[in-house]
Subunit: 224 residues, 2 copies
């Protein structure tokens, strides 16, 4: 059950690759440069040496999509969002695109610069067309946390998308990382979910809170 | 240090009145009907009998604003948001307007119907003009939780507004309720904060989560 992570050489992509490999799922890291992807994959496999983990490979983005059995995670910077999707649009077929991209404002990660469609999730859906299932997810989990393998992830995952069936599959996938996953509704809900990231970054930068790499949790009444 | 709560006869307003009174702050509940406000105030005072609490009074909205020393909380349904603000605009003077109104979609509380300005907080700021400080706050705390006085509030409070000074004062006020309060940035951040409410309502309605009246928490790494 190989998962593709496009933009997998970035900090978010690397952290996710490590976490999914440790959960027993082979990962194909994609990058514009297959060489750089292969180097990153080798470094991540070395990092996991001696632990029980599935293998991580590194190839060009298109080859990563082709290697994926079901899930293609888009983890590029927002500036490469549309271009990467246009490049692989014809290859996705019946796979599910999991979009973790957050449209932070250029030069100001404490603010959003939402695309005309309302959110990156909606923009990706518009770009890929209605026949490809797009699920926004994993926006609020910090790269730092993902890469700190000795710690559990301090963040629940809110997902949004227009296909209930695809969301159920993505819920099952992300639950393997040990986090709570909540279906937050249609793609439009990603306007809120993606924007939570800018608020968390603002808190992390602020000197008024006693921590960085904040996450967000859904909390039940009387839960301690 | 009397606080005005406009729309204070609704479930959110009543819960806040009880919580602030228990924190030692006198409350003037405002309503379009002074009679209804007085009835609600009497019921709330009766509910607090035997406990150490400041008094709650009930008057017309305009009189509640006049009774307020510093903070005017707007807790009306979104359908009455603009009209109520227009009614009291000339009375606010150097007080701070705390806007807790969430523009839920009519007939569908799981979705938003944001005003043209982007959020209720921004709409209120536009309507009142730049000389009056508007702070969006308390959107995500469920009315049920506010009214369950034996339980602590299961929700952090994210606030947004364009005046740093006003936000610092509002932080101090809300902290008296025993919740963590985080400055989430300028009024524009309210687009996200207000929309979290619709997601929480969706989770509450959904049969897939084992609780209702969900709140949201900012979570540090390695926090248990």
């Amino acid at each position: 059950m190989t998962i593709a992570i496009l933009g997998g050489t970035g900090p978010q992509g690397r952290g996710l690759a490590l976490r999914f490999a440790l959960a027993g799922l082979p990962v194909a890291i994609g990058s514009r440069s297959g060489e750089r992807a292969a180097e990153t994959a080798a470094a991540l496999n070395a990092q996991l040496e001696g632990r029980s983990a599935a293998p991580i490979s590194g190839v060009e983005n298109a080859a990563a999509v082709n290697a994926s059995d079901r899930f293609v995670i888009l983890a590029v910077p927002y500036s490469a969002h549309d271009e990467t999707l246009l490049d692989i649009k014809g290859l996705i077929e019946d796979r599910i695109l999991i979009n973790i991209v957050v449209p932070l404002a250029p030069g100001n990660p404490r603010a959003m610069a939402m695309p005309q469609e309302g959110s990156a999730t909606e923009a990706a859906q518009a770009l890929l067309g209605p026949d490809i299932a797009v699920v926004g997810a994993l926006h609020n989990v910090s790269a730092h946390t993902l890469n700190k393998l000795e710690e559990s992830i301090n963040c629940d995952v809110l997902i949004a998308g227009n296909s209930t069936e695809a969301k159920a599959e993505v819920e099952g996938l992300i639950a393997k990382l040990g986090t709570a996953v909540y279906d937050a509704g249609p793609a439009e809900s990603a306007r809120c979910i993606e924007a939570i990231t800018a608020i968390l970054i603002r808190l992390n930068i602020s000197k008024k809170v006693p921590f960085s790499h904040a996450g967000v949790r859904i909390w039940a009444p009387s839960q301690q």
